[in-house]
């Protein structure tokens, strides 16, 4: 329901933006040549081609993508902000056009789970290391330390270290 509403608002915004285009073009007068290819790519980089699998929009060379980039250029020259254009693409073609997954709803799981896994992993590693130390105290208590001359022990240890 909320999603529907958001889409409607966005659509309305799109229409308003289109009507107010003329006045905004004047507002851009201060910057000659705006928008440049680099401005278009800046926005397109954050988007994925809605039709080709796994291709960022700024590098996709299909006809459809060239048209979409032309559209971004028009929208920029009409004074749209980067975010407005991105939102427009999401409403039109769905969440899949976003290069960076959103941090809300079900999609937030993609961010959330690795973080949780790292935290749990750290805990597990700590517990493992602790339990290994416990084993050590347990075993040394049972077996009496072997009686070896100190010099020999040092010699052996030195040799082991050299081999390593």
């Amino acid at each position: 329901m909320g999603n529907m509403k958001r889409k409607l608002i966005l659509l309305l915004l799109t229409i308003v933006a289109n009507f107010s285009a003329v006045s905004i073009v004047y507002a851009q007068d201060g910057q000659p040549g705006y928008p440049t290819d680099d401005d278009v790519n800046r926005v397109a980089k954050k988007l994925y081609c809605p039709v080709c699998p796994n291709t960022p929009l700024d590098v996709c060379e299909t006809k459809a993508c060239q048209d979409w980039r032309a559209q971004i250029r028009d929208q920029l020259s009409q004074g749209w902000t980067d975010q407005q254009i991105i939102d427009y693409f999401v409403t039109q073609y769905g969440e899949r056009v976003l290069a960076e997954p959103q941090r809300k709803g079900f999609t937030s799981l993609v961010w959330f789970l690795p973080l949780t896994a790292v935290l749990i992993g750290t805990g597990v590693v700590y517990e493992i290391l602790k339990s290994w130390r416990k084993q050590k105290t347990a075993t040394t208590a049972v077996s009496s330390p072997p009686k070896i001359p100190k010099e020999l022990l040092e010699k052996i240890e030195r040799e082991i270290r050299e081999l390593d």
């Binding site: 790292v118 070896i148 390593d164």
Partner: protein, 690 residues
């Protein structure tokens, strides 16, 4: 006629591998040596039996036998001889056959070389490896058979592919084939796919030995680790080479100025590499200290399952991707087999859990042992993050019905800090002693590299005011680099003072005396260089795009590109070439003439962008021709200034070198293992000698 011979040979190979699988496990279970011997012979015969279909396919590709559907798909008269041979792995059917053949060959080598050494394990080694081989040969035979022919059924609009002539059909013989996907018509085709496959299939050997050790209950003695150490390194280095060559190839042909796009297929290859690297390290813990035996098992199971998963993703296109050129109904079979392998081996591990007790315990949190555990955890965390990001679009679509994209920003953000920690650990861990380390001596070993790295980062950061993360990154590589070089320095100094050697002899002898240790350091050195390239790519990249007329200039990052003229001419392989002649200058004099191109493959109706690149150790200037007007008076260019990117390839070469040194056995020298410890020696006659 030839195709029939290939098909018959393939069928017999399938029967023999099936037989070897069951005969070996029966022989092992009942203790019947004859059955095991027979299984071994059958497994050995599978190698020539699979070689025949491989040769037939290569010959058919080479001689344009377009009656075969596979040849029609991937070969064409315009293709060069080398591409026609490489087309063996250019499509679905051929690559699965190639895969099965490699695997059978590896099993064959093991059966010839290790037969007398690990008798107890052998029945189950044959069982596990031949089970996998049987699956792959079965897939080639029943699902993606490269010997399918083209038929035209009366009245049908489209051609039919079938092994045998369908009713009311005529054989169809096309004049020319479609040929390889234009993106694959590159020199990289000869390197990246075979090395990747060698890496993927190579892991079957350590996996099979691990499973055999578990099944027989021999894992306690850890011999399987020593037996398969070189196989693991072999598989690992080929996977590494495959990754690097793949990156280089993407950089050269995909036309986005980068080498790693976090594409599902790239991730599918990275994951077994990550767990394989963790495995390489955790087996050292077992060798030296008799610890982490359960980790080893879990890691090799994971590595091998992820290798299969990688093949699954690449070959089925289940997660749609630019790399998934070949798509068929292979999915269910593969999915079931991966599930079977993963769950089956985990079950065996669970049943044998008690045989995998550690021989030693942890003495200190500041010790090499603790560093290894931390390293393993970090590698698993990266693997999980990559796995999760790769499959999440699929999960999202299944659960909510929404298609989403998980692009590079996710992977960079999540794995970036983890990789940072791993590289840092790589600098510190080799300085930490086994068992326990006093913090004071560790500090003594670290202060110099630390101070040096701060200095380097400060100077670097001051001259290039960039993203703050770049300064952290540069500090990191400077620190790890100096820590590794300090190790070499210490070793060389010690030899110079004790043996009066000159520095070069000392360095040579130092490496020569302990191949594994210094080979390992050289691999680490390679990783640092790659990390430098990755940091350059992530934080120092500059780009611009613009349309300029003849004589005009487009500038970015201190470089100027002047457009001179546009040429059009026909090229080889059936392509039409449009080439821009440009000159690149750096604040004044012209330094290089660059000719970025756009090749249009007429039959495939596909353009391929060929960049013009000016390459130096510090910077690559990567120019692409994006578009032009009809008269050729103006053209659109995209220019990337890629800093430090060449260090990725240089680092890769260093890694290969290090692995070669590490794999080389030290003749006449015993490796230090945990078996050599004072408490054992007390019961030996050695004590009297001392």
């Amino acid at each position: 006629m030839l195709a029939e011979i290939g098909l018959i040979s393939l069928t017999i190979a399938f029967i023999f591998s099936l037989y070897a699988t069951f005969a070996s496990v029966y022989g092992g279970w009942r203790g019947r040596l004859l059955w095991v011997e027979s299984a071994r012979n059958a497994a050995l015969l599978v190698v020539p039996l699979l070689t025949i279909p491989v040769i037939v396919i290569v010959y058919s590709l080479y001689t344009f036998d377009f009656s075969l559907a596979y040849v029609y798909d991937v070969s064409s008269r315009a293709m060069s001889p080398f591409l026609r041979v490489a087309a063996l792995w250019g499509g679905q059917q051929g690559s699965v056959l190639f895969w099965a053949w490699l695997m059978a060959a590896f099993v064959g080598i093991v059966l010839l070389r290790k037969w007398d050494r690990d008798r107890e394990l052998m029945p189950y080694v044959i069982f596990v490896s031949m089970l996998t081989t049987t699956f792959f040969v079965g897939v080639v035979l029943f699902i993606t058979n490269p010997f399918m022919r083209l038929w035209h059924i009366e009245g049908a609009a489209e051609l039919t592919q079938a092994l045998f002539q369908p009713l009311t059909s005529m054989p169809y013989l096309p004049e020319d084939g479609n040929g390889l996907n234009p993106l694959l018509r590159h020199f990289g085709m000869i390197g990246h796919p075979p090395t990747t496959y060698l890496g993927f299939t190579g892991f079957v050997i350590p996996f099979a030995f691990a499973m055999a050790a578990l099944i027989t209950g021999q894992s306690r003695r850890d011999e399987w680790i020593l037996t398969t150490r070189r196989w693991t390194l072999f598989a690992w280095i080929f996977l590494s080479i495959g990754l690097i060559l793949g990156g280089r190839w993407a950089y050269d042909v995909l036309g986005w100025g980068g080498f790693w796009g976090w594409d599902p297929v790239e991730n599918a290859m990275l994951m077994p590499w990550l767990t394989g690297t963790a495995f390489l390290h955790s087996v050292m813990m077992t060798e030296k200290r008799g610890m982490m035996k359960k980790w080893n098992m879990a890691l090799i199971i994971l590595t091998y399952s992820l290798s299969l998963f990688g093949t699954f993703i690449t070959r089925t296109g289940v997660i749609s991707s630019v790399h998934a050129f070949a798509k068929t109904a292979l999915g269910p079979a593969f999915f079931a087999f991966i599930g079977f392998t993963f769950l089956g081996s985990l079950t065996i591990l669970y049943l044998r859990w008690d045989t995998l007790k550690s021989d030693h315990s942890l003495e200190s949190f500041i010790s090499r042992e603790a560093a290894f555990v931390l390293q393993n955890m970090l590698f698993l965390a990266v693997t999980f993050a990559v796995f999760w990001g790769t499959v999440f679009p699929l999960i999202s679509e299944l659960v909510t019905g929404t298609k989403i994209t998980v692009g590079p920003p996710y992977f960079q953000r999540v794995t970036g800090p983890l990789f940072f920690a791993l590289v840092l650990l790589m600098g510190i861990a080799p300085l930490v002693a086994w068992r326990k380390q006093a913090a004071r001596t560790l500090g003594k070993a670290i202060w110099f590299p630390f101070a040096a790295s701060l200095g380097i980062a400060a100077i670097w950061g001051a001259s290039h005011r960039m993203h703050p993360a770049s300064i952290f990154g540069l500090w990191l590589v400077a620190f790890v680099l100096s820590a590794i070089l300090a190790e070499f320095w210490k070793g060389v100094q010690a030899r110079r003072t004790t043996r009066n050697e000159n520095p070069f002899t000392a360095l040579f002898n130092l490496i020569g005396r302990n191949h594994r240790r210094y080979g390992g350091y050289i691999i680490h050195l390679g990783v640092v260089l790659i990390a430098t390239g990755v940091i350059g790519d992530a934080y120092f990249k500059q780009e611009t795009q613009g349309t300029i007329s003849q004589g005009e200039v487009l500038s970015v990052g201190g470089y100027q590109l002047e457009f001179r003229e546009l040429l059009g001419y026909p090229g080889s392989d059936g392509r039409q070439i449009v080439e821009a002649v440009t000159s690149l200058s750096q604040d004044g004099p012209i330094i290089r003439e660059l000719t970025p191109r756009r090749d249009y493959f007429v039959v495939q109706e596909q353009p391929v962008t060929v960049p013009g690149v000016y390459s130096t150790p510090g910077v690559d200037v990567y120019v692409m021709l994006i578009g032009w007007d009809d008269l050729g008076t103006s053209a659109t260019f995209k220019i990337y200034v890629n800093s430090l990117i060449n260090w990725v390839w240089i680092g890769g070469i260093v890694m290969i070198l290090g692995t070669m040194i590490a794999t080389w056995s030290n003749p006449g020298q015993r490796e230090a293992t945990y078996v050599l410890k004072p408490s054992v020696l007390t019961s030996h006659s050695l004590l009297q000698e001392g």
